[in-house]
């Protein structure tokens, strides 16, 4: 018996994971260089190096635009979905790093680990969007989750920060177990953990070619496995009933990280959901659609209703992020081209708006984040008209008011669901949007119509932080007025799809 002769050199194509490799490399350099030579308080080069790394990663992702293939032994998908997602995630990371620089300097807790962990998290999220195998997907999930557990606890002097990290960690580990069980059952059902598989379904099985290419009636185990995978990913997108950790984790985390979690984690997990359901499991849509519809409806209703009673602005936006997960889910349910591009457009614009909102919150909260209650924002307009206007703009976008990017996103996603024949889900979505508008208006009324607390301390507003707010505001209103470039980019961001019958065809139209 000679196993050695069976070894064949795998084909190494690093194009698909080049952005991730660059980010991990830069993060390692940051850690080692700062530990070895880091001196003094003003270590601006840490943020600068991180920003350069993220910009480079975005450039590398753009270079893969137009690719539509599987790489590294079918482990990585280099396709439009991955490229679009990676550029968006790099942008989120850039905003987070620049905002984090001002935030950390203000609270005097700047450490190189913050930047390195953000870069590791972005790399993990990027890998998640490109994963063509459940094992790679799990690896990516853990990479960004573990980084985020530490980042949530980054305010080391704050017990609230520790509490949030602990809750997030325990529930995150719990959800990972569900995801792993789903992977194990998938392997039991089809003999592989791959999402696609090779051209021959017997030699190289995968979820997609197993369903279409294997003559079997018994898909029950695969469907059970799918259920567990939904639970695992449901935790990450904060879908009801897997949303319990969200308000607690968002509340205690440093505000820039809260924004980053709302934008990035959701994007990465939704990209994985889109690949899994709208490509691999597409032929089984009659089986998984009822499941996701129940999740979406429960998520939209619970998120919008529970947000009304929140007094803490960070918790309020946490529940709002839950409701938004429900809105994006309607795009996944639609499972047609418009659903996919709409969900991507929605996630990109939502991420920018929510990062901007948390940037303003982190500024208003002041040192050690002592002023995050709704009451602390009374009369903010009369002291900081520009910041208040920006926050109002972000809230209007989250509410889905016309002229903002949030309106366009909701329009496309809901339109896709109607196209697929799920009008009643859209009706629920529109009604819950109306409920949600109430608490966004409540925040605005507090800022504009009430008296400023005379004891409120003056707010130091850093240049980088105000730059982040300005960029997010311009993007929010820009994509609300001129949406076509981003929509076109999202439309060209198709998911790799192949089946034995129709080689490398785009996603079939939904029905």
């Amino acid at each position: 018996m000679n196993l050695a002769q069976e070894f064949s050199q795998p084909e190494v194509q690093l194009g698909g994971i080049a952005p991730e490799l660059l980010l991990v490399g830069v993060a390692l350099i940051i850690l080692v260089v700062d530990a070895s030579f880091g001196r003094g308080d003003n270590r601006w080069y840490l943020a600068g190096l991180s920003a350069l790394g993220l910009a480079g990663a975005a450039a590398l992702a753009i270079m893969t635009w137009g690719d539509n293939e599987l790489q590294l032994s079918n482990m990585i998908a280099a396709d439009g979905l991955a490229a679009f997602s990676k550029v968006s995630l790099a942008a989120f990371g850039l905003l987070t790093v620049l905002l984090g620089r001002d935030y950390l300097a203000r609270d005097k807790i700047e450490e190189s680990e913050f930047y390195a962990l953000v870069l590791f998290a972005v790399a993990g999220m990027m890998l998640m969007t490109a994963a063509a195998d459940l094992i790679v997907m799990f690896l990516a999930l853990e990479t960004f989750s573990v980084s985020l557990y530490v980042l949530v606890a980054f305010r080391r002097a704050s017990l609230a920060s520790h509490e949030s990290a602990m809750k997030y960690f325990l529930l995150g580990a719990f959800s990972s177990a569900f995801f792993l069980l789903g992977i194990a059952l998938t392997y039991g059902a089809i003999g592989s953990t791959n999402l696609y598989g090779g051209a021959d379904p017997v030699a190289e099985p995968g979820i997609a070619n197993f369903i279409t290419g294997t003559p079997t009636d018994d898909l029950s185990l695969l469907i059970v496995a799918t259920g567990f995978l939904v639970i695992g990913l449901g935790f990450k997108i904060a879908a009801v009933p897997f949303h319990m950790w969200t308000p607690d984790a968002y509340q205690g985390a440093p505000s820039p990280i809260t924004g980053f979690m709302a934008a990035g984690t959701k994007f990465a997990a939704f990209a994985a959901l889109l690949r899994l359901f709208d490509a691999s499991l597409f032929p089984l849509r009659s089986e998984w659609r009822p499941l996701l519809i129940v999740l979406a409806v429960a998520t939209m209703i619970a998120g919008s209703v529970l947000a009304i009673v929140q007094e803490d602005l960070k918790r309020l936006l946490a529940y709002s992020s839950i409701a938004h997960a429900g809105f994006v889910l309607t795009g996944v349910i639609a499972a047609n081209d418009r659903g996919v591009s709409g969900a991507l457009f929605y996630l990109a614009t939502y991420g920018v708006a929510v990062l901007g909102a948390f940037a303003v919150i982190s500024l208003v909260a002041g040192r050690d984040e002592e002023r995050v209650l709704l009451a602390d924002h009374r009369g903010l307009f009369y002291e900081h008209p520009l910041l208040t206007t920006a926050l109002t703009l972000f809230l209007l976008s989250l509410a889905g008011v016309p002229v903002t990017s949030g309106f366009v996103g909701k329009l496309v996603v809901f339109g896709a669901a109607v196209e697929a024949g799920y009008t009643w889900v859209v009706v629920v979505g529109v009604l819950t949007s109306a409920i949600a508008a109430f608490f966004y208006l409540k925040v605005m009324a507090t800022m504009f119509l009430q008296e400023r607390d005379p004891d409120a301390p003056a707010l130091p507003v850093g240049r980088l932080a105000s730059g982040v707010v300005a960029v997010a505001a311009v993007a929010t209103i820009g994509f609300g007025l001129a949406w076509s470039p981003l929509i076109n980019a999202a439309e060209s961001a198709t998911i790799f799809f192949q089946s034995p019958q129709e080689q490398s065809a785009p996603i079939p139209p939904g029905g």
């Binding site: 050199q9 390692l28 850690l31 080692v32 530990a35 070895s36 039991g188 029950s220």
Partner: protein, 121 residues
């Protein structure tokens, strides 16, 4: 029937539950209980604690050392099969291993410079 393949696992779960539960139950019923002072002391768990202090902070140095040990232990575990299969893996294996070791070296330099290897701060 694909679920039939999992039947042995179900049997194993049932058997192991019965065995574990049965053993605990049987020993609680059958075993003689004669408590002495020596028996009530913690067995091979280090020095007997002076006081009950679960609310007090205590250093976690051993934890850190154990964690670092595992990291570099795993490195060795990976290197053995690589060394055995070196002839077949050729350049591909070498590049993979160098990448792996460079990343671990970066971690090592980081831990060292950050004082993770100092026992007394």
């Amino acid at each position: 029937m694909i679920l039939g393949d999992y039947l042995p696992i179900l049997f194993l779960i049932i058997l192991s539950t019965l065995f574990a539960g049965g053993s605990i139950y049987a020993s609680s019923k059958v075993a003689p209980k004669r408590s002495t002072r020596a028996k009530r002391l913690p067995y091979e768990c280090g020095i007997v604690p002076e006081k009950e202090s679960e609310r007090e902070r205590f250093p976690v140095k051993f934890y850190l050392v154990a964690m670092l040990f595992i990291i570099f232990d795993i490195e060795t575990v990976f290197m053995y099969p690589w060394a055995v299969a070196f002839d077949e893996l050729q350049l591909f294996g070498l590049v993979e291993m160098v990448a792996f070791i460079v990343i671990l070296l970066a971690a090592y330099a980081y831990v060292w410079k950050r004082g993770g290897l100092e026992w007394v701060e």
